[in-house]
Amino acid sequence: MENLINHIIDKIKIAQEWSKNINDDIYLELSKDEITNYFDKLYYNISKWNTYYHNKEIYKIISNYKEYESIISELELCLIDYDDIISITDISLCYYELGKKLTELAGGK
């Protein structure tokens, strides 16, 4: 679980840095600012998840999981052309794997 969270955070950090230097353009349906804001939000919030996990506050992760899943899904849709640089498919799949682990921890609910 920790490794998975750390892996996602590391990849998001790379994507976050990358997004600050992209052209001010529209990427399918997201602007540069929207992309940057999304990565900032993901990094800021998911960075806290290991602490929540250690403190047995899984509910705090679960309560935000769906919201960030939708954001990652949208980022994957719009930034798939840059997958070689930011590994957005990797982020998306690892996040899904995390979701499965959370479901197990929550007792399959």
């Binding site: 349906e29 949208e74 997958d83 799949l93």
Partner: protein
């Protein structure tokens, strides 16, 4: 998420302005390999419009817009006067949202782009679309107006199966010979 023949398939709801459903198919688990090919199918379940994005390792993505042949039939019929929010399409969308099962909707979304692609390549496309307009769209809308939903559903369903048989399966058979 399911895994079959080294493929990973997952579904999600993107935080998108245009689409409410997304299915991702990965050729292999990107964590285990550097080869990262994927297909992403997004859909707006209200309008039936979608997009298929194919991304192969080291290549630019390829985009294909999926199409609805009922909309195309209306477009061909009304030509310059076509309106995507016209009465007929609005009625059919309402009917689809109220009565058509999820399985039938998914079947339509799968079949429709293939039908449109095949029809558009035919010389008699216009007359086939006119036939769809008069024999399916107009008839279904009249039945829906009179509350005869089961009959409308039957015509819609038979039409999907008929078009699939005529233009999709036959096309697959021909292309494999």
């Amino acid at each position: 998420m399911s895994e079959k023949n080294d493929k990973i398939i997952k579904a999600s709801t993107p935080n998108s302005k245009n689409y409410d459903s997304k299915i991702d198919i990965y050729s292999k688990d990107p964590k285990k390999t550097t080869q990262k090919d994927s297909i992403h199918f997004v859909l707006n379940s209200d309008t039936g419009k979608g997009k298929i994005i194919t991304k192969n390792e080291g290549e630019k993505k390829q985009e294909t817009d999926t199409q609805c042949y009922l909309t195309t039939a209306c477009m061909k019929h009304y030509m310059e006067e076509f309106d995507d929010n016209c009465y007929y399409l609005d009625i059919l969308r309402w009917f689809r949202n109220q009565f058509v099962s999820k399985e039938d909707k998914m079947e339509y979304y799968e079949v429709a782009p293939k039908v449109v692609k095949t029809l558009d390549s035919r010389e008699d496309a216009y007359s086939i679309y006119q036939e769809i307009y008069y024999k399916v769209i107009q008839v279904c809308v009249r039945l829906i107006e009179y509350g005869r939903y089961a009959e409308a559903y039957k015509i819609y369903k038979n039409n999907v199966l008929d078009l699939q048989e005529k233009y999709v399966k036959k096309n697959i058979k021909n292309s494999t010979i």
